[in-house]
C-alpha cells in the first residue's frame, strides 16, 4: 500500500510500521502498516471493537497509561518514532490535538478552556493568549456564537457548541496533527454538518485522522480511508476508490451494510 501509491517521502506526515498492540495476551492490533499524508483527512472505519479507537490512541501515546498493555512496532511522525525513550510526551501531545466522542470541556469558562493548553505550555503573554483564543474559536466556527459570553461556563453551551469548543481547545496549541474519535457521534445533523465542514477546511493546516462509525460521514470528509476488522487493517486507499470500488470483499460488505 504505502509503496504502490508512489508517494514522495516528504508528503508523509505519519507512518505506522508493523504496529502490534496487546491487551494482556490478546493481540488487538495486528501488524498495522499505513501512512497518512500531510494536509489530508483520513477516516478509519470498522465495526465496534475492531481496534480503530485503540489505533487512533497509539498515534499520540494515549494508551501509555492503560494497564497491562504492550506495543511493538513504530509510529513515525515527521520521520521520528514517537515511542522512542527520548520523546517528550507533553510536547508530542502539543503537536497532536485530540477530540473525543463526547464533548468533554473542562469545568471552566469558555475562554479558559481554549487558553488552558497555552497556559500549561508556559505561555503568559495575555494579549497573545486572547488573540489565539479568538482565532481558534473562529477556526472552530464558534466565535460568533460565544463572543459575548466568553467568560460563562463551558457547560452552558449546547452539545454541538461544546464539541466545537473542544475542537478549538485541541487546535489552540497549534498542533500539526488532529485526531478525532467519532467527533459527531452525539450531535444533531446541523452540528454534524458544521463539524464535517470544519474537518474539510482543517486540512489546510493539519493532518487529520478521524475514526467514525458512520460510513456516510466518513466518506464525506475523507481523502483517504481505512477499514479495520478484528484488529487488522483490511484496506487503505484514497476515498474515491475506497467508496466506489473497494478491493476487498469484506470492505465492500461493511460499507454496503451487508455484514
Amino acid at each position: 500500500m504505502a509503496d504502490n501509491n508512489g508517494t514522495i517521502k516528504n508528503d508523509i506526515k505519519i507512518e505506522v510500521k508493523n504496529l502490534n498492540f496487546y491487551y494482556g495476551n490478546y493481540n488487538l492490533l495486528k501488524n498495522i502498516n499505513l501512512f497518512f499524508k500531510k494536509n489530508s483527512v483520513c477516516t478509519i472505519i470498522g465495526p465496534s471493537g475492531c481496534g480503530k479507537s485503540t489505533f487512533l490512541r497509539t498515534l499520540n501515546r494515549m494508551n501509555d497509561y492503560t494497564e497491562d498493555t504492550k506495543l511493538t512496532g513504530e509510529v513515525l511522525i515527521d520521520g521520528k518514532n514517537i515511542y522512542n525513550r527520548s520523546v517528550d510526551v507533553v510536547e508530542l501531545r502539543r503537536n497532536i490535538g485530540m477530540v473525543f466522542q463526547t464533548p468533554n470541556p473542562f469545568p471552566k469558562s469558555i475562554f479558559d478552556n481554549v487558553a488552558f493548553g497555552l497556559k500549561i505550555h508556559g505561555i503568559k503573554n495575555k494579549e497573545f493568549i486572547a488573540e489565539r483564543v479568538e482565532k481558534c474559536l473562529k477556526y472552530a466556527a464558534l466565535f460568533d456564537e460565544v463572543k459575548d459570553t466568553l467568560y460563562k461556563p463551558a457547560f452552558s453551551l449546547s452539545g454541538g457548541q461544546q464539541q466545537r469548543l473542544c475542537i478549538a481547545r485541541a487546535i489552540a496549541t497549534n498542533p500539526s496533527v488532529l485526531l478525532m474519535d467519532e467527533p459527531t457521534a452525539y450531535l444533531d445533523p446541523m452540528s454534524t454538518g458544521i463539524i464535517l465542514d470544519l474537518i474539510t477546511s482543517f486540512k489546510k493546516y493539519y493532518t487529520v485522522v478521524v475514526v467514525s462509525h458512520n460510513i456516510q460521514q466518513a466518506a464525506r470528509v475523507a481523502d483517504y480511508s481505512g477499514f479495520f476488522l478484528s484488529g487488522e487493517l483490511i484496506e487503505f486507499d484514497n476515498a474515491g476508490d475506497f467508496f466506489t470500488r473497494p478491493k476487498d470483499k469484506r470492505t465492500e460488505n461493511y460499507i454496503t451494510s451487508r455484514f
Binding site: 466518506a219 476515498a239 474515491g240 466506489t244
Partner: protein, 226 residues
C-alpha cells in the same frame, strides 16, 4: 460554500466545457462539409477522443460525488441528470465525427457544391440551428432551468425546423438523382449526413427534456405538446 457546493460548481463547469467542445466539433464538421478541407475532417475526428474521455471522466466524478457525499434532493437530481446529459453530448460528438467520416468518402470535388448551392444552404442552416440548440440547453443547464424555461419552446421549434431541412435535403437529392444517377453512392451519402444533423438535434432536445425532468419531476416527453 460547503464542499459539495464547490464540487457541484466544478461539475457544472466541466459539462459546460464539454458542451463547448461539441459545439466546436459541429462547427468544424460543417466547415469541412462546405469547404472540403480534409485536414479539418481529420482533426475533428481525432478530437472526438477528447469528447469521449470527457464523458468518462465526468461520469467517474459523478459516481465519486454520489459515493462520498450522498447528495439529496436537488443535488441528487443535478448529479444524476448530469450523468445522463453527458451520454447525449458524447453521442452528439460522435455524430460530428460521423459527418466528417462520411464527408471524406465524397471526395474533394467541389463542383457538386456549386451545382447544389440550395441543398448546401440547408446544411448551413441545420448547422446554425443545431449549434443554437446546443447553446440553449447548456445555458439551461448552467444558468438554471426555471430562469431559462422560455428556451424550451425555441428548442422544440428548432428541432422541427432541422427535421424539415433534413427532409428537404432528401427531396433535393432524390430530384438530383432522378436527373443524373451517375453518382448515386455520393448522393445517398448526403442523405446519411443530413440524418446526422437530425439526430444531433434530437439529442439536444433530449437534453432539454432531461433538464425539465430534473427541475419539475415530470417526464415531458409524454405530454401532448411533444
Amino acid at each position: 460554500m460547503n464542499i459539495l457546493d464547490y464540487e457541484l460548481s466544478k461539475l457544472r463547469k466541466s459539462i459546460v466545457e464539454m458542451g463547448d467542445l461539441v459545439h466546436l466539433q459541429l462547427t468544424n464538421a460543417t466547415k469541412f462539409l462546405l469547404y472540403k478541407d480534409a485536414s479539418v475532417a481529420k482533426s475533428t475526428m481525432e478530437k472526438d477522443v477528447d469528447v469521449n474521455s470527457k464523458e468518462v471522466s465526468i461520469n467517474e466524478n459523478c459516481i465519486r460525488l454520489l459515493a462520498l457525499y450522498q447528495p439529496e434532493a436537488a443535488d441528487l437530481m443535478f448529479i444524476t441528470t448530469s450523468m445522463k446529459i453527458i451520454t447525449d453530448l458524447e453521442r452528439m460528438g460522435d455524430l460530428c465525427a460521423a459527418v466528417c467520416q462520411l464527408g471524406l468518402s465524397l471526395g474533394e470535388d467541389l463542383s457538386f457544391i456549386a451545382e447544389n448551392k440550395n441543398m448546401y444552404s440547408y446544411f448551413e442552416e441545420a448547422d446554425k440551428r443545431a449549434n443554437e440548440m446546443l447553446k440553449m440547453v447548456i445555458k439551461m443547464y448552467s444558468d438554471g432551468v426555471k430562469d431559462n424555461i422560455a428556451l424550451k419552446d425555441i428548442i422544440i421549434k428548432d428541432e422541427n425546423i432541422i427535421d424539415d431541412l433534413s427532409h428537404k435535403i432528401v427531396i433535393d437529392i432524390i430530384n438530383y438523382s432522378s436527373a443524373d444517377n451517375s453518382k448515386l453512392e455520393n448522393n445517398i451519402t448526403y442523405i446519411f449526413i443530413a440524418r446526422k444533423y437530425e439526430r444531433f438535434a434530437d439529442h439536444a432536445q433530449k437534453v432539454m427534456e432531461l433538464l425539465l425532468y430534473m427541475e419539475l419531476g415530470k417526464d415531458v416527453r409524454n405530454l401532448p405538446e411533444f
